[in-house]
């Protein structure tokens, strides 16, 4: 057992389960014939893949909230920016198959009567460039935002509010057609990824497996951080920021590094999310989305990482079920869940398990 997973029973279980589903899901979908009770529909595979990208986003939030004490209410912004980078690549792949058949311009630009591709769309026909941007753009935004906020020693609820303002401002700007990201409708009607048809079962399976691997890798990377001395410094900052400064740590630098890394993880999650759901629009920047992520982490139990994954999966399964069965009840259920967890399960489901193990 590698050092980073020692004493992390939750993580060991999580990675084992991920490994099992990565092997099992493709078999159940591709090898088991349609109509067999064990057959897994492609719809379910895609749904699971979407949950896994949410789980990666939750891990990113837990890293900064649980371990560093930064309650980010704007992490969905980094997720959405990663998603837009992937969406832009997928738009460029449509080429002449769009409604207007323009070889270069996406449909919405033709519709807006634009004559040429704006400069910030250059290079997005290259997969590697788009993926680089899916990492760089969220990372850079987090870096600049964090540099300004942490240097001015903005902490606590004030920091949470400006992260919320950040995602709200992005939402409003992406709604504008002039921004050049498809406005209200966003980017959709994708055809191909790396030349493979997005509608085929095998590509759906591929995206699911990629999401599982990304979650596993992201989880391990976060474990490397939280088990290192850097992780212990982060917790020290969370618990006594002033003290950490007086023993010689540059608190702003450490916050900035971890916050930026977390934003990059969120960007990766967003880039994997978009081809699976087939659309990215400014609604992803909605402040409510970021708050929902915080609820997943709270339900799962913060500062555990695996709890964030469990919380994301449980709450989203509940959301899928409830929005199907009783659509109007979902928001009440979500609000109620948050209240109940805050009152009775301050350490989330992970805390409940730890208590049971100790007893």
């Amino acid at each position: 057992m590698p050092t980073i997973l020692r004493e992390d029973t939750g993580g060991q279980v999580l990675l084992t389960v991920l490994l099992v589903v990565t092997v099992l899901v493709p078999i159940l979908n591709l090898a088991v014939p349609d109509g067999h009770p064990l057959h897994l529909s492609t719809y379910t595979v895609t749904l699971l893949g979407k949950y896994l990208t949410y789980a990666l986003l939750a891990v990113a939030v837990d890293l900064v909230w649980g371990y560093l004490g930064i309650l980010s209410l704007g992490h969905a912004a980094f997720f959405a920016l990663g998603g837009y980078a992937m969406g832009m690549y997928l738009m460029r792949q449509i080429g002449e198959r769009g409604v207007y058949g323009d070889p270069v311009l996406p449909d919405f630009m033709v519709f807006l009567n634009w004559k040429e591709l704006p400069w910030f769309w250059w290079g997005f026909d290259q997969f590697w460039f788009a993926m680089l941007m899916a990492l760089l753009v969220p990372g850079l935004l987090a870096f600049v935002f964090g540099w300004l906020a942490f240097r001015s020693r903005v902490t606590g609820v004030y920091l949470s509010i400006i992260t919320q303002a950040l995602t709200y401002a992005l939402m409003l700007s992406f709604f504008r057609n002039e921004m050049g990201f498809g406005g209200n409708n966003g980017l959709t009607d994708f055809k191909e990824l790396l030349g493979f048809n997005l509608q085929t079962d095998s590509v759906r399976i591929g995206l699911f497996v990629a999401s599982a691997l990304a979650l596993a890798a992201g989880y391990l990377a976060c474990r490397v951080i939280v088990t290192s001395r850097l992780g212990r410094v982060a917790v020290a900052i969370r618990d006594a920021e002033g003290r950490t400064r007086f023993i010689g740590y540059r608190v702003e630098h450490i916050k900035l590094a971890i916050f930026t890394f977390s934003a990059v993880l969120a960007g990766i999650a967003g880039a994997l999310y978009v081809p699976q759901v087939g659309i990215i629009n400014p609604g992803e920047f909605s402040p409510l989305n970021s708050i929902e992520v915080v609820i997943w982490v709270a339900v799962g139990g913060r500062a555990t990482l695996y709890g964030a994954v469990a919380g994301a999966l449980m709450v989203n399964y509940g959301k899928t079920y409830l929005t199907g069965a009783m659509p109007e009840a979902w928001l009440f259920a979500l609000g109620g869940l948050f209240v109940l967890v805050t009152l009775f399960l301050p350490r989330g489901v992970a805390g409940l398990l730890a208590k049971r193990r100790a007893a």
Partner: protein
């Protein structure tokens, strides 16, 4: 220009702060003419005082005399309106922020014991340990055998060897105070600023703390801010009395206690 070069010399990677530090005049800390005003309230009023190398100095004074503000100024937390603060003859402390002050060799213990509650005693000491405290250095840091030995040595000094794995939040009040002193020692500072180390301690704990601080003087320079006069009497050679933001009296404990101005301030005249 010469002044500029000297000011930033501690940043020169080839030199440690100890080599940069110039204490040829035996004086480690210079505080001269420092004034601090908060919303019209003069917390420090033209305060001047000097601490010699290896000294154990006690600073006493009634509430609001400016004791904690003085520590805030020295450690870079508060910027004074005027005055100068030098560490040795070359390092201008007013140019440095908190982490930089810590890195030139000044450690501070707070009035309220502040240890990292969710970390073990060992981890608390490890975090405080002198060394590269950058992001990447921290990510890849491993405890070496000699660092582990140093931690064990400090654990012995502060008497927490048996509690090394205990979460700091679960320690008693006195143990937290000692752990915080241990964290100071791990920083290997030249100057220790200790704010009310025996507040809330039992009598035995107080005696042990007195022993501990006395044993540190000499190798380190120690400045203790304290209310408890018995405690001050048991450790101090030289006492500085602050009143309304400036020095009222300075000297041996018995001299200071006989000073009519000090009696007036303390007993309300």
């Amino acid at each position: 220009m010469g002044g500029q070069v000297e000011r930033w010399q501690y940043l020169n990677p080839g030199k440690t702060f100890a080599e940069t530090l110039n204490i040829s005049h035996q004086t480690l800390l210079y505080v001269e003419g420092v004034s601090v005003t908060f919303d019209g309230f003069r917390a420090l009023n033209d305060l001047s005082f000097y601490v010699d190398t290896g000294e154990l100095r006690c600073v006493i004074g009634p509430n609001g005399a400016g004791k904690t503000t003085m520590m805030d100024v020295i450690t870079g937390k508060t910027r004074p309106d005027k005055g100068m603060v030098y560490f040795g003859q070359t390092i201008d402390l007013l140019q440095l922020d908190e982490p930089a002050v810590a890195r030139v060799g000044i450690g501070r213990k707070f009035q309220k014991p502040t240890v990292f509650e969710y970390h073990s005693v060992l981890e608390n000491l490890e975090l405080a340990m002198a060394g590269d405290k950058g992001v990447f250095a921290s990510l890849f840091a491993r405890l070496t055998a000699s660092q582990r030995d140093r931690i064990d040595e400090v654990l012995g000094i502060i008497g927490l060897t048996d509690l090394v794995g205990r979460e700091a939040g679960a320690l008693s009040h006195g143990q937290k105070q000692w752990l915080e002193i241990g964290m100071l020692l791990m920083q290997d500072p030249l100057l220790l600023l200790v704010d009310e180390p025996v507040a809330g301690m039992t009598h035995q704990e107080m005696e042990r703390t007195a022993e501990l601080l006395k044993s540190l003087a000499g190798r380190h320079t120690v400045v203790v801010v304290e209310h408890d006069m018995d405690f001050v009497r048991s450790i101090a050679n030289k006492v500085t009395v602050l009143h309304q933001g400036s020095v009222l009296a300075e000297g041996r404990m018995d001299e200071v206690q006989a000073d009519p101005r000090v009696i007036e301030v303390y007993l309300g005249g």
